[in-house]
Symmetry: C2
Subunit: 328 residues, 2 copies
DNA sequence: AAATCATATGGTACCGGTTACATATCCCTA
DNA sequence: TAGGGATATGTAACCGGTACCATATGATTT
């Protein structure tokens, strides 16, 4: 690979002039520009982003850290982030962390310090201190679905509690009289909020019992298992609110396998609004987060921070909405 | 962020000694080591991978370029690659390219030249020349599912043609007498091979007709649409071989929606062996590629190349196998 | 006519590491 | 006892860019 000095030599100018042309700052004569471009062409010169990074320039790469690449919610989110990044001239790289703090710290270590110019975390496992450290190095951060206030970085989230309440209310409106909840890992703030939202409504009714709460891990398999457990405990349950769509899809499979008709015998509602919910039979009712909007927003805010060298940290809460389909 | 020179100053040694300690090459006295470690601790020093990259060291990052992050096949593959990379001390970053050559070139541009020390392409849209250029820069490459011979880079693939033949034969064994094929984009070599495999068997029978070939794009929706078209053309079809699992899942939904019983009226077989095929009702019969094995192999071969500075380019073909489930 | 300014280009220190080479002990062996 | 090898550390060039400062010229202003 050619270097800027080789280009300069071939074009008969100094490296400074070549650099000025490439970055389009400073003056460069038309003829000189032509000569340099010819040399660049000839040598097939590509500026090294490494060297550029070392020299203090921002790199046009941003990283999106995802907790579970197998949950389609995150690829959908990633697509939205990607679209914005691309249109703004940034390259997006994806990092899968399994919600594992060690892995995330590892990504930060490998990528920070000018390797990437900004991070979007769609995960919840890093402590405030972990992020604080990164912030101090000047790297802008946007976080999705994190709890707490925004003193460190900008936060974007959907209103999970409200969404959960909408889900339960919807099932009640459909005449359900015993509604269970499959909840996600309580280390994840959105899972906690959805559980809280469920309880806020459910506890007002006399059919409520803590045994209607079934643990899951946000993955499809756990939806199947949860249904097994639930039907054992409460054969008369007639409504299920799953903490996310993947578990809802799993639950649906579990129900069909048992020969239970959805929604006639048991109505089912998920949460997230991933595309996959339209692909089951029956199609799933779900509480939709504005996934694309969240991703776009995250990317735009991050890029804004990158290009303005900081900017204020805000907390953005987006609305969710009910998508009623044939599973209720 | 502290620099190596600050650490050296605080520890009262030269930068060379610090560098030697960090990289564990060359001699460092025990006492000196202790002093340096104390300084590193105190300043919270992290070596800049950027500077390290510029100075000619390999970076411990490899990139995996995926054509469609929404197809669970690729996240599954990514997980396998990730496991190996992690255990070998490498960080994996994911790049979603939509099978778009421009996007892929963009990733190469942003990440090559020491930014990452190796690439795995699970895509098919780059020309030999595109890769050749990257190779010349010394970056090792491993390619999944590419056609042609391995003069440029190592290639790993599953035997799609054979798999397709197995699928059709299986449907025949199940007594099917009119088997359709939903094929994927013919720009993708695996899609072509699966179509060829289908034809190789199907053309031997008198029920064969080119109108049994329905185009799809490897995405779930196209499976649904394909079924619509197929049933219009051939209401008497009794077997479907879908070019990948996502289209098979779509086809299944299309069939169920039409009230067609699977497998009684129409038997259905997919290709890939993604986990999601166990999540439908009925569960899907599929031709399984050794996804995890392919990912692991790709990672191991790549890392081997990185650490041995090159190595031979080989062509690895892996076997597929039939997983018979209730959709046939 | 002198001062100011826009245009155009070159020289080079610097970013933060790595590493080849020089230097200096100390110990062991022929 | 001179010389060779293992141990230990420092100096400085280098990787490939960026950007500050200096320099030079022609045009415009006062």
């Amino acid at each position: 690979m050619a270097t800027i000095r080789e280009v300069a030599a071939l074009a008969g100018v100094s490296v400074a002039t070549v650099s000025r042309l490439i970055n389009r700052n400073g003056y460069v004569n038309k003829e000189t520009e032509f000569k340099i471009n010819k040399a660049i062409e000839e040598l097939n010169y590509q500026p090294s982003s490494i060297a550029r990074g070392l020299a203090g320039k921002r790199m046009d790469v941003v990283a999106l850290v995802l907790p579970d690449i197998n949950n389609p919610f995150f690829p959908e989110l990633a697509r939205a982030v990607e679209d914005i990044c691309l249109s703004r001239g940034y390259t997006l790289i994806l990092c899968n962390s399994d919600n594992d703090r060690e892995k995330e710290l590892n990504y930060i270590k490998s990528l920070s310090r000018n390797s990437v110019s900004g991070f979007i975390f769609a995960t919840d496992s890093l402590s405030q201190e972990d992020l604080q450290e990164l912030r101090q190095s000047g790297t802008p951060i946007v976080v999705l679905d994190r709890s707490g206030n925004a003193d460190n970085c900008s936060i974007i989230r959907a209103d999970s509690r409200k969404g959960a309440m909408m889900a339960v209310q919807h099932l009640l409106d459909k005449g359900r009289r015993k509604i269970a909840h499959i909840y996600g890992p309580q280390s994840i703030v959105t899972a906690r909020e959805r559980l809280e939202g469920y309880e806020q409504i459910a506890q007002q009714y006399d059919w409520y019992s803590p045994s209607l709460l079934i643990p899951g891990n946000f993955r499809l398999e756990s939806g199947i298992e949860a249904v097994e457990l639930l039907l054992e405990r409460h054969p008369d349950v007639d409504g299920i609110f799953a903490g996310n769509d993947m578990m809802a899809i799993g639950a649906l499979k579990g129900l069909i396998r048992r020969g239970i008709r959805v929604p006639e015998q048991i109505a089912l509602c998920g949460f997230d609004g991933i595309g996959m919910t339209r692909m089951t039979e029956p199609e799933l009712t779900t509480i939709a987060q504005p996934i694309a909007e969240m991703g776009k927003m995250a990317a735009e805010i991050l890029i804004g921070k990158i290009e303005s060298n900081g900017g204020e940290n805000r907390f953005y809460e987006l609305d969710v909405h009910l998508i009623e389909r044939s599973s209720t």
